[in-house]
Amino acid sequence: MAGVVVQDVTKMFGQTVAVQDFSVEIKDGEFFTLLGPSGCGKTTLLRCIAGFAHVTKGKIFIGDRLVSSEDQRGFIPPEKRNLGMVFQTYAVWPHMNVFRNIAYPLKVKRFPERELRERVNIILHLVKLDKLEGRYPNELSGGQQQRVALGRALIMNPDVLLLDEPLSNLDAKLREEMRFELKELQNRIDVTIVYVTHDQSEAMAMSDRIVVMEQGRVHQIGTPSEIYKKPKNQFVASFIGKSNFLRAALLDVKDGILRLKIGSSGIIEVKWRGHMTGEEVILMVRQHNVEIFKKKRENTLPARVKLSTYLGDQFIYEIAVDRDTIRAQVHEEHHYSEGDEVYVRLRNPILFQ
């Protein structure tokens, strides 16, 4: 087991910057997730850690070993980094059966036959493939193939396990199951995991810490709850959770209470500890933090229901507030119809400059 240190890493492809001045310290035994939209550089960074890509600038350490830097001579190739990796397409070799796939890393290291068999059996049990060792990949389901890939990645007791969107090719139900399984697996075997995904709920469910990336840059690094509750900027807020954004004019500040004017529809008071200047602010509120009332109450804004969608356990309303449209996610039995004039209260808002 080992941590990973990424120090000021920049990766360019020709003139295109894939990763820019990226630094992060992944702790020993941590489940760390690189999260961002496609093309944000998360896979490139993972491939730099794996050794499939050379860094243009900066350093990468695995444990206390320098594995990548601008100096090509010190470069340690993937096969010497003692890593495990699960690929997006699983990459289970089609010409080898389950046993041989999982045993391959041991074969390369010339393990004696008996020890090899013992260790493969342990792994087969760990990834729940005990009875399938003789099967070929084309005889396995997607989920089973993934377990093979996982088993193969774990068999050498790697220092770090790299997972490149491993769940993206599974169907929704299996994906959810595998989330729990992966998390549980990590608790059992103590391994540092670097996980790449574009799926925020996946990241939230499993990670100890998350880095939110966009266009090769770090937006925020933190625990899931930090990132959810205190998004550093609008991008993070919009990428994590279901959010609404409203334009507001800042009227005045008194004892940590801000008075905001939302268009021409009304004025609300917001508790906010951060520093705010200027006249324009952006107010962010999660969908489930929008309350709807029939009559005017304290600190509410007049609004109009544009659309209502029934989802079984909840309603999603699209509501026009002044010039902006927001969504509210409510569980109440009370049903509002399209066109209803209502009042909304925005709970726990977050303000951005």
């Binding site: 993937p78 096969e79 690929f87 397409t89 990459a91 070799w93 391959y104 390369v108 990645a153």
Partner: protein, 569 residues
């Protein structure tokens, strides 16, 4: 219930139309394929009208025939080994490593497949015949009395055939290499395997089905080749099955020569079918379906210190096996008289002038070949559209059969197709004969080349989801209009490439033409072949060079115009 009369009749008329259409399709198939091949079968298993296996036993009882069979297999095995080795290595180098000049290599390395094989054989004669340039150079360098290398016989046939066929391997392996999921190799690297180990444990085994498939195609192609063994084998009496059949057909003095040739054809077909059967069996193992379809960014392997040597290796390969025979042909073509040293004062353009303006057969052959190539590629493409459409969109009886019938000649060598055509049309039918006319050549060409557009057009049809034309129908177009507006434009690329895939080989066809031509019905291939037989080396060189130039230029133009890989299979 009352049914209006016009509706009743409409139904009957539609039925009649459909029946006529079906009949027409199967009539065409009968004329092109079923009748000629059944004639071959009948003649092979009968003598003077009564069924017998005597032909087969006589064929198998003669040592010379068994020797030809052995030669065929021997040559094919070595051609396959060499072509696969060259194709795989070159493809890997060009596709997966950081070799220099890759874009240049990509184009140049497929040139041998574009040059008609009998032209290649002739060009190699200029290098390696007893008076060839290579031999002369070696004799001069080492003060030898006799020419050290020989082009006639098995070695010449093997070398020239391997050079002609390796691009088949090269092309299919390149495609497979481009499509292999790069994670397969990366996963092995993560598992601790070094570069060579990854190639050994992952790349090669995963590529095995593609290599096997290509090997079978080379093997079958080699067993059915005629031009190369005819030019390099017959003069020295080194015969393979195709040339042996050819000689049987020509030996009118021999009793039952056609029956024996037909029986020998069965043997040759058997080898081809066996090859295809093995291929089917080998590729049936679905475990090997690893082609992901999308060409992902695979990693390029750094050759390191070997980068320069590897590039030099490929350059030498091109110089020796592609450039040298062409250069030799150029030198011969511009030399004043056979045997003169390649010196400035000995050069002339007279050979071109002579061959183009003083040999009447040449222009006639060019006219015939162009006529045949244009007509045959147009007809085969039109028939393919009808056949593919019928097989896919209609419900006429026996539509599944069409594909099988049309694909049959793939396993049947040209020589055998030619023989079948002779047997089918030698006697007038209803007092009307196409034997000794250009029409028999045309029918033979159609039967032989039908498979190319059939494949490209069928593949294009397959890519078109039914919903596309259904959407047009929902939008108000009739079925006919939907086909015209949606389906036809979408299969256009398939039509164009199918046309070209027939036009090119038809233009320089030799195998069928040599069996079916008659006076004033010569083709380009026949003319070149006859000129080599008459020993007109300078004139033949000039003509061969012109053919090479035209063929390469046409391929280049098509490549430019289509910007896609239409020019090769």
């Amino acid at each position: 219930m009352f049914i209006p009369a016009y509706l009743k009749y409409h139904h009957v008329i539609m039925d009649l139309k459909r029946t006529l259409f079906t009949l027409l399709i199967f009539l065409i198939l009968a004329v092109l394929f079923v009748y000629p091949f059944s004639r071959l079968f009948v003649v092979g298993f009968s003598r003077e009208g009564s069924p017998t296996v005597l032909n087969l036993t006589e064929i198998l009882g003669k040592t010379t025939n068994l020797v030809a069979l052995w030669h065929t297999v021997f040559v094919a095995v070595f051609v396959t080994i060499l072509a696969v080795a060259a194709g795989v290595i070159l493809s890997w180098l060009v596709t997966r490593t950081n070799l220099y000049m890759k874009d240049f290599f990509k184009i140049v390395l497929i040139i041998p497949y574009l040059i008609p094989p009998f032209i290649s054989a002739f060009a190699w004669m200029q290098l390696l015949s007893p008076v060839g340039y290579f031999n002369k150079i070696l004799m001069f360098l080492f003060h030898l009395e006799e020419s050290p290398l020989g082009i006639y016989g098995k070695y010449g046939i093997i070398i020239v055939s391997a050079i002609y066929t390796y691009p088949l391997v090269y092309i299919s392996i390149t495609r497979a290499l481009e499509r292999i999921d790069p994670s397969f190799e990366e996963a092995a690297q993560i598992a601790g395997a070094g570069k060579l180990r990854v190639i050994r444990d992952i790349t090669l085994p995963v590529m095995l089905p593609a290599v096997g498939g290509a090997a079978v195609i080379v093997f079958v192609t080699s067993t059915s080749m005629f031009g190369i063994p005819a030019i390099l084998g017959i003069p020295k009496g080194y015969l393979v099955l195709t040339t042996k059949i050819f000689l049987y057909i020509g030996s009118y003095g021999t009793k039952y020569n056609f029956n024996l040739a037909a029986a020998m054809s069965m043997l040759l077909i058997f080898i081809g079918v066996l090859g295809l059967f093995i291929q089917n069996f080998a590729t049936r193992k679905e475990r090997f379906t690893v082609i992901t379809g999308k060409a992902t960014g695979f990693s390029i392997i750094d050759l390191g210190a070997l980068r320069v040597p590897a590039t030099i290796f490929v350059i030498l390969f091109i110089l020796f096996f592609i450039a040298a025979p062409i250069v030799a042909t150029i030198i011969t073509a511009i030399t004043k008289a056979l045997g003169l040293a390649p010196r400035w004062s000995n050069f002339t353009l007279g050979n071109f002038k002579y061959v183009l303006f003083s040999v009447p057969v040449v222009w006639r052959a060019i006219r015939n070949s162009f006529f045949l190539a244009v007509v045959v590629s147009t007809i085969t493409v039109m028939l393919s559209i009808v056949f593919s459409y019928t097989a896919r969109y209609t419900e006429i009886r026996g539509r599944k059969l069409i594909d099988y019938i049309v694909s049959a000649p793939y396993a049947i060598p040209g020589t055998v197709i030619g023989l079948s055509m002779i047997l089918a049309w030698i006697k007038p039918i209803l007092g009307w004969s196409i034997y000794n006319t250009i029409w028999i050549i045309m029918i033979a060409y159609i039967a032989r080349f039908m498979i190319f557009p059939m494949r490209t057009v069928t593949a294009s049809f397959k890519q078109i989801d039914n919903s596309l034309s259904e959407a047009a129908q929902i939008a108000g177009a009739s079925k006919r209009k939907a086909t015209l507006d949606i389906v036809i434009p979408l299969i256009k690329p398939g039509i164009y490439s199918g046309w070209f895939l027939v036009f090119m080989p038809a233009l320089t066809e030799l195998t069928l033409s040599i069996l079916l031509y008659s006076a004033r019905r010569e083709t380009i291939g026949v003319t070149v072949y006859n000129m080599t037989q008459e020993g007109l080396v300078l004139e033949t060189s000039a003509l061969a060079l012109l053919i090479i130039i035209v063929v390469l230029a046409l391929n280049l133009i098509v490549r430019r115009v289509s910007r896609r890989r239409v020019s090769v299979v």
